[in-house]
Symmetry: C2
Subunit: 569 residues, 2 copies
């Protein structure tokens, strides 16, 4: 490819709407252009990167006996009604009616389509296990697309679905897929990706893992133990809280606390640490705005995912009205109004001498003893794990919280979809059973962005050889010099004939422009032909990551370059 014909603009200024580096560099380098909020077109360099990523994924999926199939982007609502997700998924699913008025949806995931495809042809146990996958466009109407390709509305995804006749078989395959994912990240140049236990969210099932590339710009928070190998998404990480009970319980007392409505102010006013308070966090059910009041220790924060999983329905932070019976800023467990759902976090279990809301304006209680004053109530883990918290595996206070980009996920789905969509098979004993499913996703564009995010300098991406848009960036300095022109043209043809992917810059531009464009394209190996070099019968070769800079003989250079391409990772 000749650079002067490459469609797409490269420029120096960081666009003001780019928060993360990968987004800025991919816009500056002519990789993509936004067509709408969270919807991008790709130019050739990005398309080449994503195609290579797709091929790596395809090879690794084939290596774990995956069968590549294709599901539609546009699906009838009927199969989503079968599974129940037509109702349970909210605005992120795009819906429309076709010309005959039938409701259709755009695929944001394809469990339903996978079950539909195989339920008629996998009716005997001896067809199992099997895995089908596709690499296809998906649409998810995200409320807040951000960070370029990190969180978009339209994206290309590899999604795989496996079907099994026993939990053991699923678990064995799940491990094989986990290893395949590790190989995919290693081959794509980010072997540092870690897997963390996660919450399955709307996918159903219980065991699941996210693959995380740790970076400060990540959207997800991950709890990592610095001592053992415990790693979990904050959403899923168990919060362990050793509760210390005072030897002597004080009496409860209603205290006048004028205009003291936050835990912080209360602690200052009463001269108490936050650990000696009982905080209320209030939500409402999405469906009907019914109130849910969660009580937790004052220094803890609510984990909405744990709450939602417990409740089994969607919630949002409450707007507390006068009619609710709740006294905003002064809500406590003692004397609370009726008709609200009340939950207690484990952090409160057994505590005494706590301050809490008095359920009337400008008043709090002191001396709350959970057991004495509230009797037998259920406590459950509803709080977020914190930096310095206790590791649920090794029990030490060694939790750190890092941020990461999720670059893949795998789920043990169980029979959620095969049951609801009535997929069965006949066992060896002639019984009818529902197959057990696993599912396995990787977003292709996000993976490209994640590699760029962790492999770049201020001048551009530093693509690993395996996914770089081209393997060699050939610069002909002073292409108006006949000797340079002749030599560089010939080298370009030789390299192409050897199957090397070359981007060839023979423009009449300054070295500065040439090199800054090369930096933005991020091609691993750069080869420079110049009048001065040729006089010494050499070419200059260097790597984009600056780890190597060398001269090679101008004679037999194509072979030497091919060897470098094979060597550089």
């Amino acid at each position: 490819m000749k650079l002067d014909k490459l469609v797409g603009e490269r420029f120096k200024e960081r666009p003001s709407d780019c928060i993360v580096d990968s987004h800025a560099l991919m816009v500056r380098g002519g990789y993509m252009k936004a067509l709408s909020n969270g919807i991008f077109s790709s130019y050739m360099p990005l398309k080449r990167v994503t195609r290579k990523i797709e091929q790596i994924i395809r090879e690794e999926m084939d290596a774990v006996d995956g069968q590549e199939v294709m599901f539609p982007v546009v699906m009838p609502a009927t199969i989503w009604q079968e599974s129940g997700r037509y109702e349970s998924i909210g605005k992120e699913m795009a819906r429309f009616n076709d010309r005959s008025g039938s409701p259709l949806v755009l695929g944001m995931t394809h469990e339903e389509a996978a079950v539909h495809l195989v339920r008629d042809c996998a009716q005997s146990y001896n067809k199992y296990p099997f895995m089908i996958y596709q690499i296809q466009t998906k649409f998810r109407d995200e409320a807040r697309p951000r960070a370029g390709l990190i969180r978009v509305r339209e994206f290309t995804m590899k999604d795989a679905y496996s079907f099994h006749t026993s939990q053991e078989d699923l678990e064995e395959y799940y491990q094989r897929c986990h290893k395949a994912y590790e190989r995919i990240y290693a081959r794509a140049g980010i072997p540092e990706v870690v897997s963390v236990a996660s919450d399955s969210g709307m996918m159903g099932g219980s065991i699941s893992h996210e693959f995380m590339l740790l970076t400060p710009i990540g959207e997800d928070s991950i709890a990592i133990c610095t001592d053992c190998d415990y790693r979990a998404n904050m959403e899923a990480a168990e919060n362990i809280c050793p509760n210390e009970t005072d030897a002597v319980s004080q009496e409860m007392e209603l205290v006048h606390t004028p205009e003291i409505s936050s835990i912080e102010d209360l602690c200052a006013f009463l001269k108490l640490p936050a650990e000696k308070t009982c905080k209320a966090v209030v939500y409402q059910r999405n469906e009907d705005d019914h109130y849910i009041v969660l009580f937790l220790r004052g220094d803890m924060e609510a984990n909405e995912t744990k709450l939602t999983n417990h409740l089994g329905y969607g919630i949002h932070p409450a707007v507390i009205t006068e009619e609710s019976g709740l006294c905003a800023g002064f809500i406590g467990p003692k004397g609370l109004c009726e008709g609200v759902t009340v939950l207690y976090d484990l952090s409160l279990k057994g505590l005494n001498n706590l301050a809490c809301g008095g359920n009337q304006a400008d008043h709090h209680f002191t001396g709350l003893d959970m057991a004495r004053d509230l009797g037998e109530v259920a406590y459950k883990d509803f709080a977020k794990i914190r930096e310095g918290g206790i590791c649920p595996r090794c029990g030490k206070k060694t939790i750190t919280v890092s941020r990461g980009i999720e670059v893949g996920n795998i789920f043990q789905l169980g029979t959620k979809y095969t049951k609801s969509m009535n997929m069965t098979y006949t066992t060896q004993d002639g019984k009818q059973e529902h197959p057990i499913m696993g599912c396995y996703g990787i977003g292709v564009g996000r993976l490209a962005a994640a590699v760029c995010e962790t492999h770049h300098d201020e001048y551009g991406p530093i693509w690993p050889m395996a996914i770089a848009p081209w393997q060699v960036h050939l610069c002909a300095m002073r292409a108006d010099d006949p000797q340079v022109r002749e030599y560089a043209d010939k080298l370009y043809e030789e390299l192409k004939a050897m199957g090397i992917e070359v981007i060839y810059d023979d423009r009449k531009v300054s070295a500065g422009v040439m090199f800054s464009d090369a930096d933005l394209l991020g091609v691993p190996l750069r080869v420079i032909v110049s009048p001065r070099n040729l006089k010494q019968e050499v070419l200059e070769v260097s790597t984009r990551d600056k780890s190597m800079k060398d001269s090679i003989s101008m004679h037999g250079a194509a072979q030497a370059i091919a060897e470098l391409v094979a060597k550089i990772r």
Copy 2:
């Protein structure tokens, strides 16, 4: 791939809803499954066929300097409003609002997205010409999906867009692309595809060609001259009609024709040939149901495409109401009511002694002389060319009408999109001009179906080697025989190691089941390992098209098979 693990059912009965063979065989062979009307999921065999077709297309597009890019499936309405097509395209475009209420559409073609992608980065003449293409999912809400993959609602398409600074340059590139298309069809195994001049329809522009695979099940009718190389879509083919005028014009006379409301009945009643009648065909404007009356010679048929192109708006066959002023069955040009648009086909020009409607119930005129009785009216070509009609190129009565499947199309778009979307570049003289565009499409799934439609027998598809799902179908007859098992397993591994694509059937099923499954998968080369063969130290090899059946030595068989794979087309 082991056949017993291949997901998808194969069966013998032709499904009752399959009108065409390719549809029936692809359902019977486990290639695809309908998820909704005109929306299919693909199993592995079809996915492998379409991926190979895509790769052939990609290589040929790259060979004509195409740059692979990617446009979104979901696009904002805004760019379609810019081009004017948001209004002009009807129900076939799927539309919905996102969560913020902004209107979005699903891409059925990507001219607008192409202009959007390049209009900021091709502002100087020296960036031209260039071509960008993508292979991507499209959705078109067809009113009548039919014939399996021939006419669907969701499909994968290669669409390419070229940009030029002169009509000459476009035409030169158009020819290069035409040749690339010929290579694509030849490589995909259907070199018999012909290109025909076509009507550009909603794409705009004037010159365009369709690539047609001639088959009786095709949806399109093509006028072909048996004497010269004229070929055109019926929609576009000029209809030439030598008009014979009688020497003596009779007087016009109103005749009582009770209950005679068709041309056929009228001819029988008056004992006239259809050529001596003037027929009325009535349409209504889609927008407001305004009436359009077309008069043509009684033996001609209206060509709606020519009508629509002339009128510049959409029309539909009329429902004639009493209020319209039209007298259904008795409409004629003389004494016609006011307020309707009247058009005359060239076939009527200069004719006399015609019978036509009397514009009152049960009455016709005879003796109509077009020139004498209607004065100076405009005549234009609005009729369909017919079998035995006159070739517009060589002038002989040598037109035959064949049916074909459109497997690709190319258009010279002109500046329709660059003008409406305000894309300009600076010429060498410093002037601002709109680039001239071409566009080039191929439907991948339809191409696969077209190959199947023209390359099959009653037992299944006969895939050309270049796009076959696998290259070798290895059958181990009596795999319970240890010698067969050992030999076939080893051969399978050897072939795989050589990079040969093998589907391996080692099931304990009858030869009949094995062979009928192999027929349905349509793999070009079949290799049979059986106890009887092994006793004679041979394997049986045969081609799916039955052109070759042979024995090869069981020793060094892998090498011999690889050579056959390389040889068979």
